[in-house]
């Protein structure tokens, strides 16, 4: 980590979602400030500022971190992944798809951090138990959902990713217009009602 005195500014280089960036930072800046204000990647949210709520979770060299606790200077030369990098080539990540299908999203403020924590889990452990999932997201607070739909979504995404084989991390359906509108069960139900018309 570079030595910079209080108040002094310096430029750091690192990778965000695969692309190289250079940002001017001060010693006081946190990674979340660089992402949200410096790079305007506002998908990453701040919920508590003390590393308790997980809303600011991003991946640093593939590991989940609270970006409110990481000094910006520490990311020099490293790789950061945020929610904006989950969808690839206009195609949703299987986790994003599953969150939509399982109504794992309510107000949506914890969602980006929750997705990043889940993405880190599935890279480490492609076949997690419900208990593994609960543990992996236990640092991510959600006040709306009660966590079940989130855990079901992660289970479902894991199944889908295993079925698609390795290297399928960003191979969901395209969006829009392919984003799901109704769950699979209801789609069948609606179609059967349609054909009965």
């Amino acid at each position: 980590m570079r030595e910079v005195g209080p108040g002094a500014r310096t430029t750091i280089s690192f990778k965000v979602n695969g692309g190289a960036v250079e940002v001017e930072v001060s010693a006081e800046d946190r990674l979340i400030d660089v992402l949200r204000e410096g790079l305007r990647l506002t998908g990453t949210k701040e919920g508590c500022g003390i590393g308790e709520c997980g809303a600011c979770t991003v991946l640093l060299d593939g590991k989940p971190v609270n970006s409110c606790l990481v000094p910006a200077l520490q990311v020099e030369g490293r790789e950061v992944e945020t929610v904006e990098g989950l969808a690839k080539d206009g195609r949703l990540h299987p986790l994003q798809e599953a969150f939509i299908e399982h109504t794992a999203v309510q107000c949506g403020f914890c969602t980006p951090g929750m997705l990043m924590a889940a993405a880190a889990l599935l890279r480490e452990n492609p076949d997690p138990t419900r208990e593994d999932i609960a543990r992996a997201i236990s640092g991510n607070l959600c006040r709306c959902t009660g966590y079940h739909q989130i855990m079901s979504a992660i289970e479902s995404a894991a199944r889908r990713m295993r079925a698609q084989g390795p290297g399928a991390s960003g191979a969901g359906t395209s969006e829009p217009p392919g984003a799901p509108v109704v769950s699979e069960a209801s789609r069948r139900e609606i179609h059967s009602r349609d054909s009965a018309d």
Partner: protein, 770 residues
């Protein structure tokens, strides 16, 4: 109307794609050129006189653009939904640590903080009023000049004394409930902008953009039409963003500086300054006859509303209304006090006074059942209100009543049926299992005496889709998806053809709040009304274009046809117009197809004289069953399984109801077992999530939601509302389960490990200390 295609289907949220991609801009994500950072100087004392405010040093700091005090409030220096007793910026005294004394706007967050530190305020501290019952005494120091009892309600019906004399069982207890925090994940955040004509736009998550507009206009002394308020999206609210939070500060700073100004509260500032659930002390005396008929309930509620009124009065009114639950209770004496203290601020919170009294009542109910040797569920079912019954406050239950239906469903759920078997198999010898049940009814809408209305707009867009506007904000509950479903079925199109416009005072009509379990019912009815008018307009245009009689126009899915057209596909398609073609025809004729719909809430057949906001005509119902395991060595309680049985009327989006139900269960579990905002001598001791603990994924029990649909004829497609009820009976279901497991009664929540442990020791006859 044809059978609905979208209503009742498990529809994915229409806002989910933007939320999972991080594309959705919350108010804290907005940024404008030339934007300044605003900050609020909060009080340094819980109760003090302000002797002097000197802002000169702050103003002199390079980068500080404005410093505002009470002298800079052009209009009314006060806000508050019922009475505007909370100063925008304090002038003579401060009444809690969250009181705002000055505002700053600066070119950076750091400069804004520096400016706050440079403002000099001279205070003369006053004695802190922190015990609501002491505050009620004449001898108490006063928080407000006209006394500390902000509001008092008393309702009597029948003869409670006679009932207590004749009863076979009378139980009387005192209950204490904590100061629960909303803990929405997005703190109060937003931006205000101002244009060259002085029009202000305030982007700030909240629960009623039009009331925010009114309160901002009043404080600025400005025509409300010059102020636009955008309240959607909101990153969670649960009642905590019903009152004004930072909207007036934003508008004042934009007005003064002529530049966009952004404020984002830190979590600590949000906790200290924001609303909480009223802590209540509840004395409850309940009587039943030997055959298990409930005879009387005497209730005395003292609620700590903190420094300002906000919705404290209505919360206490609703506590009184809900204090007899979904039961016939022929004799009642119900009294509630809403008391000012220097303990922060209490106001609206999901459940709105019911959570506290239902916890007390449902414990009383279990105690009486136990004393009578009756089955807890049977006892509830025996006394449950049926349609046509007279409720405790004397009004007749004429709308749909699902109390018995949810109890019936509970009697068949697995953890209830197999409860003895489940209890017999704890996970360790020192653990004990129990099953608890609780039920409630929950008023939907604002109740007797308050204007309660809905409005919706529908516009046919050039591409054949419909823009549907309802102002009730999307705060995470999923109302925009439910609106889109109801609009799609009312118009005859797909959910994908609906573009929702939500929570914007410029582009929607006032449809009231996203509170009080009201927005789906209200917005849905207004959408139904607007859609009927839109279909008439479409039918007129189609009849003209197709050369058919108006009555011959039939609506299909996304199109209209001529009803009597002869058989043959070719003729039929020649006489069919899609909504897109209708839009083209309208455009070619220079016409815009737009419709407005409105709706006024029906109310109960009688009110309670002298009070407003109660009772209600329409209630949602819910029964919840919990299986818990108590560690008898530590007092720790684990909730293993919950069955949640809501009656929301028609479930517009069943997966959305499940989402509400699960979230409500976990929030009500936090209330039962762990949550309390500790304030000592006016100082908040739990200002962030390291000390204020809410349930995590590791705490969440297995939850099954069984929806019971008691259709409400006045509701859109039969819907009522369910946003609040889902978090209420779960609390006593859990504490009753602790009793079932261990024999101890919980009368003071949260039932933390310490409280349970001490109660277990007391039960065993061991000294509590040791």
């Amino acid at each position: 109307m044809d059978e609905p295609r979208w209503v009742g289907a498990r529809v994915c949220r229409i806002d989910a794609v933007d939320k999972v991609t991080g594309r959705l801009k919350f108010m804290s994500d907005l940024s404008f050129p030339g934007m300044l950072w605003g900050a609020v100087l909060r009080s340094a004392h819980p109760h003090a006189l302000i002797k002097k405010i000197d802002t000169s040093k702050a103003e002199a700091i390079d980068g500080v653009v404005a410093v505002l005090t009470h002298k800079d409030v052009p209009g009314l220096n006060g806000f508050g939904i019922v009475i505007p007793d909370q100063p925008v910026l304090c002038f003579d005294k401060v009444r809690y640590m969250g009181d705002a004394v000055a505002l700053v706007a600066a070119t950076s967050k750091e400069k804004a903080s520096e400016a706050l530190r440079a403002i000099e305020v001279e205070y003369e501290p006053l004695p802190v009023v922190d015990d609501p019952e002491e505050a009620m005494l004449e001898s108490s120091p006063r928080v407000h000049a006209d006394g500390n009892i902000h509001h008092r309600i008393k309702v009597e019906r029948g003869d409670v004394e006679a009932a207590f004399r004749e009863a076979a069982v009378v139980v009387e207890n005192t209950y204490y409930t904590p100061r629960q925090m909303h803990a929405f994940m997005e703190t109060e955040s937003g931006v205000a902008t101002i244009d060259e004509d002085g029009n202000i736009t305030v982007w700030c998550g909240s629960q009623h953009p039009f009331r925010d507009q009114l309160q901002i206009a009043r404080a600025l002394g400005m025509n409300p039409r010059k102020i636009q308020v955008v309240s959607t999206p909101t990153g969670g609210a649960f009642g905590g963003k019903d009152e004004i939070t930072i909207q007036i500060y934003l508008a004042l700073l934009a007005l003064r500086t002529g530049r966009p100004v952004k404020i984002v509260l830190s979590r600590e500032e949000s906790v200290v300054a924001g609303m909480k659930r009223h802590p209540m002390k509840i004395r409850m005396k309940t009587a039943a006859a030997a055959d298990g008929t409930l005879l009387a309930n005497e209730v005395r509620v003292v609620a700590d509303t903190g420094a300002y009124a906000s919705l404290g009065g209505p919360v206490v009114n609703l506590a009184i209304e809900h204090s007899c639950g979904p039961y016939r209770m022929p004799n009642v004496r119900l009294e509630g006090f809403c008391v000012y203290t220097n303990n922060g601020l209490a106001g609206a919170f999901r459940g709105f006074g019911a959570n506290q009294v239902i916890f007390a009542l449902e414990t009383q109910i279990d105690m009486i059942a136990e004393r009578l040797g009756m089955d807890r569920l049977e006892f509830r079912r025996k006394n449950a209100l049926r349609q046509g019954d007279v409720a405790a406050l004397g009004h007749t239950m004429t709308a749909s009543v699902g109390a018995v239906a949810t109890l019936d469903a509970a009697s068949r759920c697995e953890i209830w049926v197999r409860r003895e078997e489940l209890k017999a198999r704890p996970s360790a010898p020192h653990k004990k299992r129990g099953v608890g049940i609780a039920t409630e009814l929950h008023g939907c809408g604002l109740g007797v005496g308050l204007p309660d209305y809905g409005a919706a707009t529908i516009e046919l867009l050039p591409d054949g889709r419909f823009a549907v506007g309802v102002s009730c904000p999307e705060i995470g509950q999923g109302n925009t998806t439910a609106f889109a479903q109801m609009a799609a079925d009312s118009l005859g199109c797909s959910v994908e053809d609906i573009v929702m416009v939500s929570g914007d005072s410029r582009y929607t009509l006032d449809s009231g709040t996203s509170t009080a379990s009201r927005s789906v019912y209200t917005g849905g009815n207004a959408i139904r009304c607007a859609a009927a008018r839109m279909r008439e307009a479409i039918a007129d245009l189609a009849a003209e274009a197709l050369g058919a009689a108006r009555e011959e126009i039939a609506f299909g899915c996304g199109n209209v046809t001529v009803r009597s057209c002869p058989a043959g596909e070719a003729t039929r398609s020649a006489r069919r117009l899609s909504f897109r073609e209708i839009a083209c025809i309208a455009e070619s004729k220079g016409r815009k197809l737009k419709a407005e719909g409105d709706f006024i809430w029906p109310v109960a057949d009688r009110g309670v004289e002298g009070y407003f906001g109660l009772p209600h005509l329409i209630y949602s119902y819910i029964t919840q069953v919990a299986l818990v395991e108590v560690n008898t060595l530590t007092g720790e309680v684990e909730v293993l399984r919950v069955v949640s049985i809501p009656d929301p009327g028609k479930a517009i989006n069943p997966v959305g109801i499940e989402a509400q139900s699960e979230g409500g269960v976990v929030m009500g579990m936090g209330y039962a077992l762990m949550e309390d905002t500790v304030i000592e001598q006016g100082i908040t001791k739990t200002p962030n999530f390291s000390t204020y603990i809410i349930p995590t994924s590791m705490d969440a029990p297995e939850i099954e939601t069984m929806i019971v649909e008691e259709l409400e004829p006045s509701g859109p497609f039969g819907a009522k509302g369910i946003g609040e009820a889902v978090c209420v009976p779960i609390t006593p279901a859990i504490t009753n389960a602790i009793h079932d497991a261990t024999g101890i009664w919980i009368t003071h929540i949260p039932a933390t490990a310490e409280r349970v442990y001490m109660a277990l020791r007391k039960q065993a006859g061991e000294p509590a200390g040791a």
